[in-house]
């Protein structure tokens, strides 16, 4: 009876380990895809390296700040571009800030869209600016959705008793 119970426990442990390994593999594949698709760049790895036991939620905190600040900036930009007399200096300042924060977390596509936007600002080209704003909104929603999924996958791994390995180099 005891041997049978121990055998069952071994099988359960093995299937749990197998489940955890599958989750960890899925997490690694998902993360690698984000780098391969250019959604994240190496700056995101810098953030991960800054995370430690003294601040285990550092990446989530910084990314959450990015989400909140960016949503506000995008709303401000929509309002600024809807004005009768567009203040391009103000628009440029907002885009500049968004470019800075997106580059700080490694949101490559958002950063690149900001660079294009600033060019249209300098030309005082409103249709160009509006197109860029749409593009930035799309890229922002994409990176937000991807990062939220990434964090969920990480939480699942941790909840299953696993740890999140730090990626040294994205596998491209």
């Amino acid at each position: 009876m005891r041997a049978s119970l121990e055998g069952e426990k071994q099988q359960t442990d093995q299937s749990m380990d197998g489940g955890l390994m599958q989750m960890q593999r899925r997490l690694a594949e998902y993360r690698n895809a984000l780098f391969k698709e250019g959604i994240l760049d190496s700056q995101y790895l810098q953030l991960q390296e800054l995370q430690d036991e003294s601040n285990p939620d550092f990446v989530v905190e910084v990314v959450s700040l990015f989400f909140t600040d960016s949503e506000k900036l995008l709303n401000d930009l929509s309002r600024d571009l809807a004005q009768q007399n567009v203040d391009f200096k103000r628009v440029d300042a907002h885009v500049h800030q968004l470019k800075g924060s997106s580059s700080s977390i490694g949101a490559e596509k958002v950063k690149n869209a900001c660079i294009v936007f600033r060019n249209f600002c300098q030309e005082k080209n409103i249709p160009g600016c509006l197109r860029c704003l749409q593009q930035i909104k799309q890229e922002f929603l994409l990176v937000k959705s991807k990062l939220e999924t990434l964090f969920k996958l990480e939480q699942q791994v941790v909840a299953a008793g696993g740890s999140i390995p730090t990626v040294q180099q994205p596998i491209l």
Binding site: Q43, Q46, L47, E49, L50, D52, N55, F58, E61, V62, L65, F66, D69, A93, H96, Q97, K99, G100, S101, S103, S104, I105, I115, R118
Partner: protein, 149 residues
């Protein structure tokens, strides 16, 4: 207006190979209007273990940075963002140098315009670096600081 924040990290690291050669103290001022950037740069500096004690303060614009100096604070390194409301990095750098501040002032910017960066540098920067900062870039600043002692 947010008041400047201070953080002190005890850089004692038993695993550090060069702990005997480590400088005693490093004080850094991070000046940026973006809370996210301040948080990241503050964390990079605090993790570096380049001194036995690392003191970090932050300011949200050039005027706050000036006020800190007027109240008697001094720093080894000032990481100065270029574009900030109230007082930008170029203006703040000029004012600090006019006050006689000799700290290493490093411009940190994601600006593309060469003219803007040149004006920033001419205001009195020791260096101008592109955002985002990395651990390697800051380590290199500390090495320069050591060489110029």
């Amino acid at each position: 207006m947010a008041s400047p924040s201070t953080r002190i990290d005890d850089g004692h690291d038993m695993d550090s190979v060069n702990s005997g050669l480590m400088r005693e103290k490093l004080s850094v001022l991070v000046v940026d209007n973006d809370a996210l950037v301040r948080k990241v740069h503050e964390k990079i500096v605090s993790k570096l273990k380049v001194a036995k004690q690392v003191q970090i303060q932050t300011a949200t614009n050039g005027k706050e940075a000036l006020d800190l100096h007027l109240s008697g604070s001094s720093f080894d390194i000032i990481l100065m963002d270029m574009q900030m409301p109230i007082m930008d990095g170029t203006e703040a750098t000029k004012e600090l140098r006019a006050m006689g501040v000799e700290s290493m002032i490093v411009g940190v910017t994601s600006a593309d315009a060469r003219a803007d960066k040149e004006a920033f540098t001419e205001a009195g920067l020791d260096q101008c670096l592109a955002k985002p900062l990395t651990a390697d870039k800051i380590k290199s600043l500390v090495e320069t600081l050591e060489k110029n002692k």
